[in-house]
Amino acid sequence: MEYSLFIVVIPFLLFLFLGLLGTKLKSIVAGIIGTIGMGICAVLAYTVAYQYFFGIGKTNGEWVKQIPLNFEWLRFTENLHIDLGVLLDPISVMMLVVITTVSLMVHIYSLGYMKGETGFQRYYAFLSLFSFSMLGLVVATNIFQMYIFWELVGVSSYSLIGFYYTKPSAVAASKKAFIVTRFADLGFLIGILILSFYTKTFDFGLLTADHASLVTTSFAGGTFMGLSIATWALALIFMGGAGKSAMFPLHIWLPDAMEGPTPVSALIHAATMVVAGVYLVARLFPVYIFAAPDVLEMIAFVGAFTALFAAVIAITQTDIKRVLAFSTISQIAYMMVALGVSGYGDHEGLGYMASMFHLFTHAFFKALLFLGAGSVIHAVHSNEMSAMGGLHKYMKITSITFFIACLAIAGIPPFSGFFSKDEILAAAFHHQPVIFWTLWVVAGLTAFYMFRLYFSIFWNTPKSPKGDLVHSASLQGVGGEHHKPHESPAPMTIPLIILAVFSIFTGLIPFADFISSDNIPFHTHIDWTVAIMSIAVAVIGITIAFMLYFKDSKQPARIAQAMGGFYQAALHKFYMDEIWMWVTQTVIFRYICEPIKWFDRHIIDGSMNGLAWITQKSSAGIKGLQSGKVQFYAWVFIFGSIVIAALVLFL
């Protein structure tokens, strides 16, 4: 299995190659090289998955962790050493498949979507860097390696969001994404340090072994501000995950991140990077459940709130990518909830399995939705829903695949989303009624806003006059020429079709056979009570959306009017951006940064300047020592020896 290393290394080499020499190549050649490289990775990932799940992965009916490679990178002391390695277990192998598949699709799609963009080679170089970082993250053998790649993922996401760096809004969005996630990562790092300080290891295997007994014993009941230290450490680690996975209140960067090219949104901000937080919690799941069940409880409630909050905002947004962004936040929150309500072992661990299942299916249908949205944007040169409508007759493939993805996310059987969502709802149903009903409502809202999106884009009629269309097109800088929308070229439609196939069939995988909280396969069956309730609410949502948005009508505006302040608040994302602005500008900048700045200016700089002054003065003072006379040198030599001897002898 050593070849699994190549899955990680190939994208890195591609990044170096395209980054350093890309501009010397024709753009299309660079794109094809990147795509072929990613294709090789995908093939390798599938081979690894096949070998793992149908060959060497299971021993005595249990999935075991395999570490084909581990390399000690930096060694500081016996305990403190940082390793780099490859860890294969059910979830990391699953992630390899997800990442390489979606990444390959995005690589192919971008050949069409990004055609003619300046910086095409740079785009592919960064895509490779991102793939490398994300793959390195999921195969990490220890939490520090994960942290390293975690930050690399952040950097590549930053550079891709800011790909159109001449656009001020893109630059602002990339900075926002980087700063918000970095802020969360600070918590992550502190959490890692606390955890490893007590356990003396970074290694996932050691941390999670034997029901995380290492963690539960080594913390030995220490408390801080009323909570155990283990709870603090794990809550801080979750903070990092919450930042990357856009949990409330750290979700504010994700909608803005839609300034990046649409395929990037599909890859990073829908399918892979944003689920890193879920993956992190899943990776440390035994630690969470045995050492800090209260944190898990918190995760469940934060997740449920985020799911509802984001779904409500999604209904009011008019920029199609933003609708999808909030939908992503809501769906990732779903996965978090599933982890939060999960127990350990067998059917108790249903939530864990459901979370990973939903992660898997969501990656495909959400990537499909984004790529479909990209195809639409490509055709009409606008992100605004009002510029769209009636596109079904112009772009049939996009329309049909988008419809499939909508059905999948709405949870209509037999599409993939139904199965995974049903497992999550079932897990919540048996654990926490409050959470279950929240998720149930969210399921209805999801169906509603997705079909609102679908009908407004592909049916209905454009609301704004044509002049606006031209106007928004020229704003986009994609040539102001007005033409009839048409279907996208083959490199864009083929990934759509492939992903649509995935969105239909991935739900049929018997997931519990492969992934479970204690790595022992179990069997699930559809809980029909829950299933019927969830299908019912989805159908209601779709029906309302059909009535309101299938044809042009005044109804939606009237309802919005009736909702009044609540609608306005949701439209403005409940003013979260403004609240954060106030917190940073007023509280942090004025009351924390100013005093620190003073300290830095006067105390730190002052002492450095003082040091420099003393150094210069004494340097000038002793220059006479270096006289150039050999006699003097010899004299110092012998006198120095005698002084040393005298000091040793008489002191």
Binding site: E72, W73, L74, R75, F76, H81, M608, L611, A612, T615, Q616, S618, S619, A620, I622, K623, L625, Q626, G628, V630, F632, Y633, A634, V636, F637, I638, F639, G640, S641, I644, A645, V648, L649
Partner: protein, 476 residues
């Protein structure tokens, strides 16, 4: 006599054979054949270096305990070999120039003799052999320092070096006679048992230490350094600052650990103060320098203080850290000297720092390598020099030497200031009127710079190297 013992001296014998061969070749070969002298000399030396890396089974003491060959000494000799090879590569162009081309055979043969002396210093297990090694290494070096004999400064360097060298070896011999008087033997292994902190032994130790301190250019035995480094040809300066210093550090560590371990409490104090003074004084002088070779002379004095810091800790970890430090120092310093040699060859011997103004514009690659070297010397992460300093500081901190680490850290801050002056000259300062234009570095020097850059990166990022040294350092 048991001739088997010579099998332990594989590297020394190889060196002698190479020396004899080159000497005969240089003396008897026709003018035509001499064209290939450099290529042949360097390739043969590469072979010798490669031979050193082959594992040998002949480890242990030979000649009645006079000479020792262990995995660690072999490794240290390899370090010296690599450094010498780099110096050869960097000197190639200078040696082909007008004034020196007819004497280049001498340069190689003399250098090889000094190297042989250093081998003996490293492998000595007896003070007499150590002394002979030191003399073999020192006297020819004076010839090398004066190699540009028509240049006043070079001649001055040669004279100063030989005078101080003679003086220091006199003092060292004086010290050794005290030790012999006190302990009745020169064999390391026999001395350890009897070493005690008696005044005779302490006096002997201090004078002996002065002799090695001269080679390491520790304060107060350092005053010759700047004048000699400035006057000597650049290749020789590089050799003095890296190879000669390295050999002395290795010899010192063996003497301290093998012989004077029982009186560690005594030398620990001496080394403590000397390392603080050496680092600080080296830094204070470096700040004022206008000549780049003098500048690196003082920078190397301060670096020698850090080497001492690694020795003080007296643990296997300290020794590992110190050998690692030397390895990194080797590549970083030689990279700097490689760039200096390249620039000097094209600016007609101008070695002022201001000659580097605007180097980034005219020769970006050289400026970049110089930047790497200087950052590594200054200890800026993630370059190798950061890790080497870090390990030294950590080894010292684990022994509770917090004050020492603090002073050393403070000095690191100061050293950054003057190291950055070079960066400023290259990248920010405007070029002078008769500044050097874009030129092509000769192939030999290019190879040497590539080796150095790879060294700076690979050693910094591969902890395997550190681990390997760690494995060797047990059972010194």
């Amino acid at each position: 006599m048991n001739f088997d013992n010579f099998l332990y001296m594989g590297q020394e014998i190889g060196l002698v054979i190479l020396f004899v061969f080159l000497f005969l070749y240089d003396t008897f070969c026709s003018e035509k054949g001499k064209k290939y002298f450099q290529v042949i000399a360097i390739s043969l030396f590469v072979l010798l270096t490669a031979y050193g890396f082959c594992p040998t089974t002949f480890t242990g003491e030979a000649f009645g305990g006079m000479y020792v060959n262990s995995a660690m000494t072999a490794f240290m000799k390899n370090i010296l070999n690599v450094a010498t090879l780099i110096v050869f590569l960097q000197s190639a162009q200078w040696l082909s120039s007008e004034g020196t081309s007819h004497r280049r055979g001498e340069f190689y043969t003399i250098t090889l003799v000094t190297l042989l002396g250093m081998y003996l210093m490293v492998s000595a297990n007896n003070f007499m052999l150590l002394y002979i090694g030191m003399e073999t290494a020192s006297l020819p070096l004076a010839c090398l320092a004066a190699f540009n004999k028509y240049k006043e400064k070079s001649a001055e360097a040669g004279v100063k070096y030989i005078l101080i060298s003679a003086f220091s070896s006199g003092i060292m011999l004086f010290g050794l006679s005290f030790l012999y008087g006190g302990l009745g033997t020169f064999y390391f292994s026999d001395m350890t048992a009897n070493v005690s902190a008696s005044p005779l032994v302490i006096l002997g130790f201090v004078f002996f230490f002065g002799g090695l301190g001269f080679k390491l250019s520790l304060v107060p035995f350092h005053l010759w350094t700047a004048d000699v480094y400035e006057g000597a040809p650049t290749g020789v300066t590089a050799y003095l600052s890296v190879v000669s210093k390295g050999a002395a550090a290795f010899a010192l560590i063996f003497a301290l650990y093998k012989v004077f371990a029982p009186i560690e409490i005594v030398w620990e104090h001496i080394l403590w103060w000397l390392s603080v003074i050496t680092i600080t004084l080296g830094n204070l002088f470096a700040i004022r320098q206008k000549d780049i070779k003098r500048f690196f002379a003082f920078s190397s004095i301060s670096q020698a203080g850090y080497i001492l810091l690694g020795i003080i800790t007296g643990t296997a970890q300290g020794m590992t850290a110190m050998v690692f430090f030397l390895l990194v120092y080797l590549f970083s310093n030689l990279a700097a000297f490689g760039v200096i040699a390249a620039v000097e060859n094209h600016s007609k011997g101008d070695s002022r720092i201001s000659a580097f103004n605007g180097l980034y514009k005219s020769n970006p690659v050289l400026a970049f390598i110089m930047m790497l070297a200087v950052f590594s010397l200054g200890g800026i992460p993630p370059f190798a020099g950061f890790f080497s300093k870090f390990f030294i500081f950590m080894a010292a901190a684990e022994q509770g030497q917090y004050m020492l680490v603090f002073i050393a850290l403070l000095n690191t801050v100061i050293s950054l200031f003057y190291y950055l002056l070079i960066i400023k000259a290259m990248f920010i300062n405007e070029a002078e009127e008769n500044a050097i234009t874009r030129f092509r570095t000769d192939n030999y020097n290019r190879i040497s710079l590539i080796i150095c850059v790879i060294g700076i990166f690979v050693i910094g990022f591969l902890s395997a190297v550190y681990g390997h040294i760690g494995d060797l350092s047990f059972g010194i």
